[in-house]
Each structure stands twice: as C-alpha cells, then as structure tokens.
C-alpha cells in the first residue's frame, strides 16, 4: 500500500513544495511507493492522524497523534540531507 506523507511549512505553498519533491524522488529511487500532501503548519494537528509520516520545514511542537515526525529543514539547506532521507525511509519501512 502506498505510504502517505504529510509535508508542512508555514504557508503550505513554497518550502513544502521543494521538500515534497525531494522526498518523492528519493523514495521512487528506493522503490518505495509513497504520496505526499502539502499543508500549513497550523493545519497539521487536524490532518496528521491519517498519515504514516509528518515532515515539516518549520518548527512544529503540536500534537501528532502518535504519527512519526521528521524535521525536513536539511532538505532545504543540504546539511544532513542524506541522513534525513534515510531516516524517512526507515520510519516508513518500520510501519509496513
């Protein structure tokens, strides 16, 4: 079954676009079927429960209802990006 990833940033319009694109590309290369949905940080708590993973570019300290959470800033800055992608893969594989 396809994995569902919620990708959130401040306005849900710019940085989440870049991060979602990078995650999709990486997971496709790794042979993992995944779909991403973009949203605003303020809407995460209401939406996140039905997803397998939450990735945000901005700081998020709200309720994730037990959904694993990975900070995606490294995918913008490049610093630690490979580790972040590996972590995303690990989390998705654990839940399968």
């Amino acid at each position: 079954m396809s994995k569902k990833i919620l990708v959130a940033c401040g306005n849900g319009i710019a940085t989440s676009t870049v991060v979602a694109t990078k995650i999709k590309k990486y997971l496709a290369e790794e042979g993992i079927d995944a779909e991403t949905t973009q949203t605003r940080l303020t809407e995460v708590t209401g939406k996140v429960a039905s997803y397998d993973l939450l990735v945000t570019t901005g700081q998020f300290s709200g309720q994730t209802h037990g959904v694993p959470y990975v900070l995606g800033m490294s995918l913008l800055t490049g610093i630690g990006a490979d580790e972040t992608l590996k972590k995303i893969k690990e989390v998705l594989m654990q839940n399968s």
Binding site: C9, G10, N11, G12, I13, A14, T15, S16, T17, V18, T21, Q38, L41, T57, G58, Q59, L71, M73, L76, T77, G78, I79
Partner: protein, 156 residues
Amino acid sequence: MEQINLDDRLFFRNCSFNSSNEVESFLSDQLFKYGYVKKEYKNAILKREKEFPTGLPSSSPAIAIPHADTNLVNKTTIAVLTLDKAVTFKNMAVINENVDVQIVIMLALSEPHSQVEMLQKIVEIVQSENLRRKICNTNSNQELISLIKKELQGEI
C-alpha cells in the same frame, strides 16, 4: 514550462537596513508599487515572519525567503535584495535561533504548490556557499540581475 517573469526593477544591491521588518516592508512596498501584490501583502508578510520565520541556516552569507498567502499575489515573481551588513532573521526550523541574513529573496507566488523548478533552483542557491558569495559580491545591479536570471532561468 512555468517560466516566471523576473522584473529588473525588483533587484536591489548592497542595501542598508536595520531589521528583517525593514527589509520586508521595503520589498513588499516595491512589489505593491509595480502591481505584483495587493496592499495587504505587506502585513501578511510581517505577521508570517513572526509566526513562521523564513531565515535558512547556513554558512555566511545566509538567505531568507519571505513569502505570504497566494491570494494576496496578483502575478508571480520574486524580489531580490542583498545587504551590505547582515540583518537578523529567525531560523525557520528553530524559532528562537537567529540567522544573520545577507540575501533576501521574497517569493510572490500566486498559486500554491507551483513553481517547483524555480523553488528548486533557489534551494540550489541556498545550498551553495559559492553562489551565495557571488550574489553578495556583484559589482552592479545589472550583474546581480544577470546572475540571478542565469541561475533561475538559464539565461545569460
């Protein structure tokens, strides 16, 4: 391909400002003056920067990418500004940390989840200290404009 219109009037080099608020107010006013955004855009930018800051932590010179609601944008473009002395933005990922920003790229996007290619190219600039230095070290507005156009659109 979704090519955006880069406006030469929206590039500003070697500016002096004391705060992120001042920079963002100035750029918002310019975008409004040339019809790219609605009047309310400025307040939305300033409010958003407080709640969800846009400083991207990196080696010096660092970048901030302020942007606001798509419904306040008439026409997609970007405004670019370099600072002679860095101003403090907050770190997008860790709100109580500061980022000393010397390059501000204000994104006026009229549609959410759009401009993937341009955003990816901006992220390439963010990830390249060499490119960021080049942007700060340009000697004329025209050089800055050409450099950004080349990086974002492949034009010379």
